[in-house]
């Protein structure tokens, strides 16, 4: 079964005009896996709906 992350990398490279040469793909995938794992760790932490991001824009 194809890994959806491979599909994401290929689609994102095409859609967003990102250069991913075939021999770079494994390293890009490894880095993306690590970053997404960190992101998931943050996302699973429950915050209230009204939580504000750290940078607050001041008009």
């Amino acid at each position: 079964m194809p890994d959806p992350l491979d599909d994401l990398i290929e689609a994102a490279a095409r859609a967003f005009d990102l250069p991913v040469e075939p021999n770079w793909k494994a390293a890009v995938k490894t880095n993306l896996q690590v970053t997404l794992r960190h992101g998931a760790h943050v996302a699973e932490f429950k915050l209230p709906d009204d939580a504000e991001p750290a940078p607050v824009f001041a008009a």
Partner: protein
């Protein structure tokens, strides 16, 4: 006179008193750079004529009875992401070599020179500051003066190597996730990462604007404080730099640590630490009579959030360069940045929301304590070329993980003095972390440790 291991403060006093000429001090530094840099690879550019002219002007000023600054005649150098008039600002990259020379110095260089210091050159660094190793594909690795086969740490690699190697007594670096504290630890010198927004980042090449800090390296706490005080002050050219009165630290660092409540960070800040990191922390806590251990809540998640913000903001900064000149990046940096461009915005926004939650929780800790002690790195300097190490029994990449203990702190902009603990065979570093704007407290504690002989910049045998 030999100024190889002389402090900035002692040099300035010698110049003030007429015991030394600034020109001789600077010429000595230039000679050491010439002799030692082939082995250390700390410098990428030397501004010899500028430095000699500047030093001569200081000597002339003294001769004419004009007042000299507190850093008179002190040679210093800067990470090559700071603008130096007449040089392209490399930021450790190949691509930036095509930039025009900077039209003006960074304001921190200007402020140090107003205080009498003399810029002698620009320093090696990890490409675009996305690095904890000090390895650089284009300029070669900076080498650790304690063992030139080993890493300096990064990304302010040359900044630490130049000070630890006795080339200059003072340097500047930047710290997004640990890039002052990690190399200070591995090279066995002092480093100050001030509060986020304290020192101007104007005319320096950015990495992650919401996490970027700048600060000094030195071989003594007094020198750190001298440099920090000279650089404080609002700068409208950096929108993050706060409009806050300067708070001189030099008059306060000698107050000792009596009356301060200090705790050591447990949990996350012990997990994964090699024995030498635990030994360094133990020496510091013992000297300060620290018995209280506290838990910094959700530190692992804070580090994860910093990782996400770094990857994505870094990718945003370099997107056009990735599209146009991907082959000119170090592949280790390029592939991380490309991956960062593919991370969903939902995760970045959540990381920024978590950042505020975490900040609020950590700041409550400072209602009960004045400072928190934690290791700077999990281990001593790895060998150059070493790609992985074992953290808690799991093999992990060195490049991404040397900042394990620094990332949760810079994530919310807390000030830290990184102190060196001279272990054998290699030095280690310990972070003294305080509440925002309390650099004075961190410097006081560092000075106490220095006076007790627990923290010291050991002179390498080179």
């Amino acid at each position: 006179m030999d100024f190889t291991w002389t402090s900035a403060n002692a040099i300035a006093h010698a110049v003030h008193d007429g015991q030394a000429r600034a020109r001789d001090v600077v010429a000595g530094a230039l000679a050491r750079i010439s002799a030692r840099n082939p082995a250390l690879n700390a410098f990428t550019a030397v501004v010899e004529q500028r430095a000699l002219d500047r030093a001569t002007a200081i000597d002339d000023a003294r001769q004419n009875g004009k007042p000299l600054g507190p850093l008179a005649g002190v040679p210093f150098a800067v990470k090559n992401l700071f603008d130096v008039k007449g040089l392209p600002t490399l930021a450790g990259s190949k691509i930036n070599r095509d930039r025009p020379p900077a039209a003006a110095d960074s304001p921190l260089i200007e402020r140090l020179e107003i205080a009498g210091a003399v810029l002698v050159g620009a320093l090696n660094m990890g490409e675009y500051a996305y690095d904890f190793t000090g390895e650089n594909l284009h300029d070669g690795p900076a080498r650790n003066p304690h063992d030139t086969r080993r890493m300096t740490g990064g990304s302010s690699s040359g900044s630490a190597g130049a000070v630890a190697g006795g080339l200059v007594p003072l340097s500047l670096g930047s710290d997004t996730n640990g890039s002052i504290r990690v190399p200070a630890a591995l090279c066995g010198i002092f480093g100050l990462k001030p509060t986020y927004g304290r020192l101007s980042r104007a005319r320096s090449f950015p990495f992650v604007g919401s996490l970027d800090h700048v600060g000094p390296f030195a071989r003594s706490v007094y020198d750190l404080a001298l440099a920090y005080d000279a650089m404080q002050g609002h700068d409208p050219d950096d929108p993050v730099c706060v409009d806050r009165p300067t708070e001189p630290t030099v008059p306060r660092i000698g107050k000792g640590a009596d009356g301060l409540t200090i705790a050591v960070a447990g949990g996350y800040f012990r997990a994964g630490a090699f024995p030498e990191a635990l030994t360094a922390v133990e020496r510091v806590t013992k000297a300060l009579n620290v018995t209280r251990e506290i838990d910094i809540p959700e530190a692992a998640r804070a580090r994860a959030a910093a990782y996400v913000i770094t990857a994505t903001e870094g990718a945003t900064l370099h997107l056009e360069r990735l599209r146009a000149r991907a082959h000119d990046f170090d592949p280790a940096v390029r592939d991380r940045l490309i991956a960062g461009a593919m991370v969903p915005a939902t995760l970045v926004n959540q990381a920024q929301k978590f950042r505020r939650w975490y900040r609020d929780r950590v700041l409550t800790l400072f209602k009960d304590v004045d400072a928190i002690i934690a290791p700077s790195t999990p281990c001593a300097a790895p060998m150059i070329g070493q790609n992985t190490f074992l953290l808690d029994g799991v093999e992990m990449p060195v490049r991404a993980n040397m900042g394990l203990y620094t990332q949760p702190i810079s994530f919310i902009g807390l000030p830290v003095v990184a102190v060196p603990v001279p272990l054998t065979p290699l030095p280690m570093g310990v972070q003294i972390i305080t509440a925002p704007w309390r650099e004075d407290v961190a410097l006081r504690i560092a000075h106490t440790l220095e006076r007790a002989g627990v923290a010291a910049a050991a002179r390498p045998a080179i």
